[in-house]
């Protein structure tokens, strides 16, 4: 099956189509993780995006029910160098191609993905169309130009849950091997988690740390959250531009100081906005599992998982209230902050990993400690 990718600037890549037939539209971004394609497929933060994976061999270990980060894949389309037709892993339940076909995700393979990545690196993330139907490249370029831009788009509202639910599954039940020291703690805290596109591993981690988690829709008013009498509030990751999510910024402002708050990724950007800061779009974002982040207090380096297109401008934050806690050593972008007086901290990257290294999982413990102190 022939397939092609057309970018808004007119660049075309022709390759082979796998997975679903059809067309998909989105902002084209690249992810440099070597492992964890299934987690990437199912990360709601990728809503509205077509993902290029730099690892050229994708699909090798198939897919399984345990490694989903949401109930379905959220990427609009997938671009890889070579797509494995078979899977080999003791946990594999479904060949990757079948899985994506089932979820109607088109795959463009056998293109020069490195050339595409270099194009995106030099010219920035841009809109694109993958099509297995249309062969007229010009028509597709026109379509790409018609896709709504990421800036100014609120996608959190689109991907969030439409009703609250309680999360029950901890980490232990999902570990493939006996990893020492991982044990789900008994429930000691109640956390309300705003779902802006929340990844399941955040919920597993919170549960693992002894939190009962109630997940609520993105637009849930602060008062409704407080009515649940939580010990803390969690602000999740999610897709799109944080700026139009004014409802969330409002709610965070109302919760600040009344509840310990922990935000990740989009949650972190919303915290930045709530604190009076500004966000901006990065040229091609951070998507991968190898970013060095420095913990400014100790100088310690964490290798971290990233998936964001926007960032908080550190200079826009009130220094009197906000302490910058983490910085990215690749490009010096802000990776974490903490309120000097209120129980509030957030990070731009993904301590829950999935996929990615586990170096920053202590942050979940920090959150629990914060709730402990607040309660005590």
């Amino acid at each position: 099956m022939q397939a092609l990718l057309a970018l808004e600037d007119g660049r075309i890549f022709r390759g082979k189509g796998y997975g679903a037939k059809g067309e998909c539209y989105g902002e084209v971004v690249f992810n440099t993780s070597i492992t964890g394609y299934q987690e990437i497929f199912t990360d709601p933060s990728y809503a509205g995006q077509i993902v290029v994976l730099t690892n050229p061999q994708i699909g090798n270990y198939g897919t399984n029910d345990e490694d989903n980060e949401a109930t379905r894949p959220y990427i609009e389309g997938l671009i890889v160098r070579e797509f494995s037709r078979v899977s080999s892993n003791w946990r594999s339940q479904q060949v990757t191609e079948e899985y994506l076909e089932h979820h109607k995700i088109p795959v463009l393979a056998e293109i020069d993905t490195r050339a595409l990545v270099r194009h995106l690196r030099d010219h920035g993330a841009m809109r694109g169309v993958i099509s297995t139907l249309e062969t007229d490249a010009e028509k597709l370029v026109a379509k790409a130009c018609g896709i709504p831009k990421m800036v100014g788009t609120d996608l959190a509202k689109v991907v969030t849950t439409n009703r609250p639910y309680v999360w029950e599954v901890g980490e232990r039940s999902h570990e493939p091997t006996e990893v020492v020291g991982v044990k789900d703690a008994p429930e000691r805290f109640h956390v309300v988690a705003y779902d802006f596109g929340i990844k399941h591993n955040i919920l597993r981690k919170l549960r693992g740390e002894g939190c009962k988690v109630t997940v609520v829709p993105a637009e849930t008013p602060a008062e409704d959250v407080l009515a649940l009498k939580p010990h803390g509030v969690f602000l999740s990751n999610g897709p799109g531009d944080p700026e139009p999510c004014t409802y969330a910024v409002e709610n965070i402002r109302r919760l600040m100081g009344r509840q310990p708050i922990f935000g990740i990724c989009l949650g972190h950007q919303l915290v930045g906005l709530a604190l009076g800061g500004k966000t901006y779009k990065l040229k091609f974002g951070h998507h991968g599992g190898n970013h060095p982040v420095k913990l400014l207090k100790t100088g310690k380096i964490e290798i971290t998982a990233h998936n964001h297109n926007f960032a908080v401008d550190p200079d826009s934050l009130p220094a009197s209230e906000v302490e910058l806690t983490h910085v990215n050593l690749n490009d010096n972008t802000l990776e974490g902050l903490r309120h000097r007086n209120l129980p509030l901290f957030s990070v731009q990257y993904h301590p829950e990993a999935a996929p990615g290294p586990h170096d920053s999982q202590y942050l979940f413990g920090d959150f629990v400690k914060m709730m402990e102190e607040w309660r005590g």
């Binding site: 890549f13 690249f30 440099t32 993780s33 070597i34 492992t35 964890g36 299934q38 987690e39 730099t54 690892n55 050229p56 061999q57 090798n60 270990y61 345990e66 490694d67 160098r81 070579e82 494995s84 037709r85 078979v86 899977s87 080999s88 892993n89 003791w90 946990r91 293109i111 020069d112 490195r114 050339a115 990545v117 270099r118 690196r121 999902h174 570990e175 493939p176 091997t177 006996e178 990893v179 020492v180 020291g181 991968g288 599992g289 190898n290 970013h291 060095p292 420095k294 100088g299 310690k300 380096i301 290798i303 050593l329 690749n330 990993a353 999935a354 996929p355 990615g356 290294p357 586990h358």
Partner: protein
């Protein structure tokens, strides 16, 4: 953390000679460490016995000791150096010189020597080394942090071993403690095997201890390369997955980076475990390698072992990712943290990250069992390969196929029919050719599932092989004339070579089959592009042109407008073509870079310094085949700047490319390919010698058994029979009769009219001499006249030799110089030339003047680095410059004026070979015209004897200073044996001899004990060896027969590590050496001092 200021001087210990399990990768790591620490302003002191390394170049360190790597010599170095720095700020970095350096560091620490001279260890603490290396400590440590390990027990006797194996059930794995490359390890399926392997393992273990372990045979095997800094930041550089499952030593496995079949959960669990391991073991700074096994049925993950140092795998990981582990490790050892060190390739981002790959890397080992008839060829926990290639492709399939052609084996399995029984055996039992048999089986219709069951190779890998086969079948459907371009493109993207396509279309190589395919590709517009290895999958801009070819859209290697020189490397290490050639290639790059050329290296060996992206301006990590090299030449030429190619530094591999490249229009610089060809062409070369009135042994070229026999009869036995165009004496024999010739021609070798067989008179009882010379076509300077200590007939690479020559009459020296000058000029040598001479003893001793030319090699030889170290003159650098048109008079005017050889000063320099016998039990250790040594050492001394003794010590053959010497010599040698024996008697040795020799000795008034020959009865020499009654053996081979006696003696001697001397010349040298050792004096020399002294003297003259 900033650099430590409490240290000012650092001793780096190298890994010594190249041996199986410890190869050029430690030259790469050691060189990087030296460079990095020197750049940081430390005074760097280096100890290594291997002169063929870049690290022992005088520029690499402030003081370089090419000395035996033993406690005594190291102590002397430490004493001198500690004195020089007043005992302050002195540190030892033991983690870049392999197991050798690590073991030595432990020994020095345990003996209190480090403490005595106030030397601190950096990189790894003694406790950490012991915890990682001692299997029991390691197991306890793993269990303490809750990691799973195979069930195991340490034993130091056979009884305990049997008992434990009975408890856990067979098969069991036996791993001796503290040996390298898994020496002495094995798998036992029953009690009998256990007894055998365990006994050998206990013997080889320096602490007489082995681990008996639950077998995880058939599990998936992975390795992680981990780095840690003093601030406890830990990063993973690379994950490696073994194609061959557990049970095959990782050095003997095909390996793949990154890991291909792990989900993120499994990979991260492994990453967490690796980080926990390095912390628990306590490797404070630097790189470590941690191996894991994963049960494919349930994911159970166990830790196998850890190397608390840089390793072969870390060299591979460095080349696979572009992250220079050893260089960073050296910086971490002196206090820097990872975030303070920039990533060389991106410049803007720090080293505190984890490289990500957008390509696949495949490493394939290279074995040379053909050199060791009788060796057990099955693969197991003890490493047997002598080298490796690495290939980079955008997919596994592409990388694998590039790797296979990079191996340079020239043979194919599967052309004939293989019996099912044999096929099954080949699939089930790991073997060097298993990949080829798997491929064959796929073609025969075996399914992935069947093969996975038989081989335990992961089905994903097998599927890739199947897809390659499917492509092959598709290709076979189309004749070349009507093949659709898309099919060719797909095949090229999958890594099919032009040669394989030509084969598919039945185009003969000799009639330009590959060229036809190339032209077809050109017509279709299908050509490779070059992509960069950049550590970051293109996320950041790369400043380092470290390149690989692939069939994609975009090229990232636009040629520059600078004039350029392409240096072709030597490919995988092998016996006869090793690190010496890599040394020359590196020097060419260093010199020509200084001269303003853009230097470009092409090579596919991940162990080497030449494939360090720092060594050249551009590195193409590519197979050395005509197709791949020509594509690079064409690509570089497209920039419009002049491009010259150097073929004479990388050994035979690039030489074989010279004529095809030239025919395709590539400019070869230096000695012309025609001259190189002339020197190899028996007939034309013979004519040239006749014209020059230079004597040569009579010989002939033959292309059939009959011709060979006829020629041999005409010339007279013994004859030396060998193929044209080989290096390292591959497939070379001395034949004393027609049967040997017939057998050889039928079985041992391939030949054709293009590649005939050479039959030459073998000059018995002659001294062999190697000469290396520089020439610009007009002037010639001799670098060194090296006198072999073994007689002619033993491959020059296997012979010890000495500089300067010790007992060749000046008249003959003059003759050899004259011949060298004549030949260099006649062949219009521009660069290096190596000539081998033979001087019949009759002529040397009796005032004769006959010197025969054995062969001329108008190229860099194996001895170039050794001569360069001895003389202080970088021959390869000068040679490279001559090739670009510069003249010898610019560099060595005085030597030209005086027609003098390069000066070696007041010292003697002895080079001695090192053999891999302990890896191949049961193999005859006899030396002959086929090279068998894997590496070499150099001994430096004020006398020949001392230098020889030191070389022997460095080679692991410590000469005894007292005891009994066994003497058994040929009739010819009986004339001179008494004089040598007397010397041993004077040195206090008792003597044992067989009847004939004993008669001679007694006649000379010497006291001697008689033994029977092995065939005659007992006690015989073997009994005495086993009874530890003999400390030295002098046994000169008896000519035609491969004597049962000799073989048994040699074998026993190897097993009991008793030095064996096979020539009287060497026996004399040994006597002098022993006399030197008896003084108890341990002297060491810094190379820089020796060279400086010489310059002072030169100046005075």
């Amino acid at each position: 953390m900033p650099k430590r200021t409490d240290i000012s001087k650092i001793l780096i210990i190298g890994s010594g000679p190249i041996i199986i399990g410890q190869s050029a990768e430690f030259d790469y790591s050691g060189t990087q460490a030296c460079k990095a620490l020197k750049a940081e302003g430390f005074e760097v002191v280096l100890a290594n016995s291997n002169p063929a390394t870049i690290m022992t170049d005088p520029e690499s360190a402030d003081r370089t000791y090419i000395e035996p790597l033993t406690r005594d010599y190291l102590e002397e170095i430490l004493r001198i150096e500690a004195e020089m720095c007043g005992g302050k700020g002195f540190a030892l970095l033991p983690t870049v010189g392999g197991q050798t350096a690590l073991n030595l560091a432990v020994e020095l620490a345990d003996a209190g020597i480090l403490e005595k001279y106030n030397v601190q260890l950096i990189g790894a603490r003694i406790e950490a080394i012991k915890k990682a290396e001692d299997r029991l400590f390691f197991k306890d440590a793993m269990q303490k942090i809750g990691l799973d390990v195979p069930k195991s027990a340490l034993v130091n006797n056979l009884k305990d071993g049997l008992e434990f194996a009975g408890k856990i059930g067979f098969p069991v794995v036996i791993r001796p403690s503290f040996t390298l490359g898994g020496s002495g390890g094995g798998i036992a399926y029953n009690r009998e095997e256990l007894l055998e392997v365990l006994a050998r393992g206990l013997d080889l273990s320096p602490v007489h201890e082995c681990l008996i372990e639950e077998s995880v045979l058939g599990w998936k095997e992975f390795e992680l390369e981990v780095m840690r800094d003093l601030a406890d930041n830990v990063i993973i550089i690379c994950s490696i997955e073994n194609f061959d499952p557990m049970g095959v030593h990782t050095g003997d496995s095909i390996t793949v980076a990154p890991a291909q079949t792990l989900t993120d959960r499994e990979y991260q669990a492994m990453r967490d475990a690796a980080i926990a391991v390095i912390r628990e073991i306590g490797v404070e700074t630097g790189g470590s390698n941690i191996q894991f096994a994963v049960n494919p049925d349930n994911g159970r993950q166990v830790v196998i072992e850890m190397n608390p140092r840089v390793s072969r795998s870390s060299a591979l990981a460095s080349k696979a990712t572009g992250f220079p582990i050893a260089k960073i490790a050296a910086k971490l050892a002196v206090g820097y943290t990872l975030d303070e060190i920039p990533n060389d390739i991106t410049r803007k981002t720090p080293a505190s990250f984890e490289p990500t790959l957008d390509y696949v890397v495949v490493k394939i080992p290279k074995w040379q069992f053909e050199k060791f008839p009788g060796a057990d060829e099955s693969l197991g926990p003890q490493m047997k390969s002598v080298g490796e290639v690495m290939a980079i492709g955008r997919t596994f399939k592409e990388a694998l196929q590039k790797g296979i052609r990079a191996l340079d084996t020239g043979k194919r399995v599967g052309s004939g029919k293989i019996e099912p029984k044999i096929l099954t055996q080949r699939l089930v039992t790991p073997h060097p050719e298993r990949l080829a048999y798997v491929t064959y089986a796929i073609r025969q219709g075996y399914t992935v599932k069947q093969l996975a069951r038989m081989t335990s190779i992961d089905p994903w890998f097998l599927q890739q092989l199947k897809e390659i086969n499917d492509m092959q079948l598709e290709l076979e459907k189309h004749p070349m004339e009507s093949v659709p371009p898309e099919i060719v493109r797909q095949a090229k993207r999958m890594g099919f070579s032009d040669g394989r396509l030509a084969g598919t279309w039945r185009l003969e190589t000799s009639s330009g089959g590959q060229e036809k395919v190339r032209h077809l590709r050109k017509k279709f517009g299908i050509k490779p592009v070059y992509k960069r290895v950049d550590t970051c999958a293109a996320e950041f801009e790369s400043y380092t042109p470290y390149l690989y070819s692939t069939y994609e859209e975009e090229d990232e290697a636009t040629p520059t407008a600078k004039k350029k020189v392409i240096i072709l490397g030597s490919g995988p290490n092998r016996i006869g073509q090793g690190i010496e050639f890599d040394y020359c290639c590196c020097h060419a790059s260093f010199a020509l870079r200084e001269d303003g050329f853009e230097t470009i290296i092409v090579n596919c060996n991940p162990e080497t310094v030449s494939t360090d992206y720092d060594t050249s301006d551009r590195l193409y990590f590519e197979p050395l085949t005509p197709e791949d090299v020509f594509a690079i030449c064409e690509h570089e030429a497209s920039g419009g700047a002049p491009v010259g190619v150097i073929v004479q530094f990388g050994g035979q591999t690039p030489l074989n490319l010279a004529l095809p490249l030239k025919a395709a229009g590539v400019t070869i610089i230096g000695t012309s390919p025609e001259s190189i060809d002339l020197a190899e062409d028996r007939k034309r070369f013979g004519k040239l010698l006749d014209e020059l009135h230079i004597p040569q042994a009579p010989g002939a070229m033959v292309t059939s058994v009959e011709e060979a026999a006829k020629a041999a009869n005409a010339i007279g036995y013994p004859v030396l029979v060998r193929p044209s165009y080989v290096l390292g004496g591959r497939a070379m024999v001395i034949a004393y009769d027609e049967d040997t010739i017939a057998h050889y021609m039928k079985q041992a070798v391939e030949y054709s009219h293009d590649r005939p067989i050479l039959v030459d008179k073998f000059l018995e009882d002659a001294i062999e001499v190697d000469v290396d010379a520089l020439s610009d076509g007009e002037d010639v300077v001799i670098g060194g006249i090296m006198q072999h200590i073994e007689e002619a007939g033993i491959h020059s690479g296997d012979s010890s030799c000495v500089l300067p020559a010790v007992d060749i009459p000046e008249k003959l020296m003059r003759t050899m110089r004259e011949y060298t000058f004549q030949l260099a000029r006649a062949l219009q040598v521009v660069g290096l030339v190596n000539i081998q001479f033979a001087i019949p003893r009759a002529s040397a001793g009796n005032g004769g003047d006959k010197v025969y030319v054995l062969e001329v090699n108008p190229r860099a030889s194996r001895t170039v680095p050794y001569v360069s170290k001895a003389t202080g003159i970088p021959l390869a650098k000068i040679a490279a410059r001559l090739m670009t048109g510069r003249k010898l008079r610019e560099f060595l005017p005085e030597y030209i004026e005086r027609a003098a050889d390069l000066d070696t000063g007041r010292c003697y320099y002895v080079k001695s070979p090192v053999f891999p016998w302990n890896k191949f039990p049961g193999v005859d250790t006899v030396l002959g015209p086929e090279m068998k040594s894997t590496g070499e050492v150099m001994g430096v001394g004020d006398s020949f004897g001392e230098a020889f003794a030191k070389a022997q010590v460095a080679a692991g053959q410590t000469l005894p200073t007292k005891g009994t010497v066994f003497i058994s010599v040929t009739d010819h040698d009986k004339l001179h044996v008494a004089e040598v024996a007397r010397r041993f008697a004077e040195l206090g040795f008792a003597m044992v001899a067989t009847a004939g020799t004993a008669d001679v000795l007694e006649k000379a008034g010497l006291k001697v004990e008689r033994v029977y020959k092995v065939k005659e009865g007992r006690p015989n020499p073997v009994d005495l060896i086993k009874g530890e009654r003999i400390q030295l053996i002098i046994n000169t081979p008896q000519g035609a027969d491969p004597f049962f006696d000799e073989k048994a003696i040699r074998r026993a001697a190897v097993m009991h590590r008793i030095p064996t001397i096979t020539t009287l010349a060497a026996a004399r040298a040994a006597a002098e050496g022993i006399a030197a050792l008896q003084t108890g004096r341990v002297t060491v020399h810094a190379l820089q001092k020796l060279h400086a002294d010489r310059e002072v003297r030169e100046g005075l003259r």
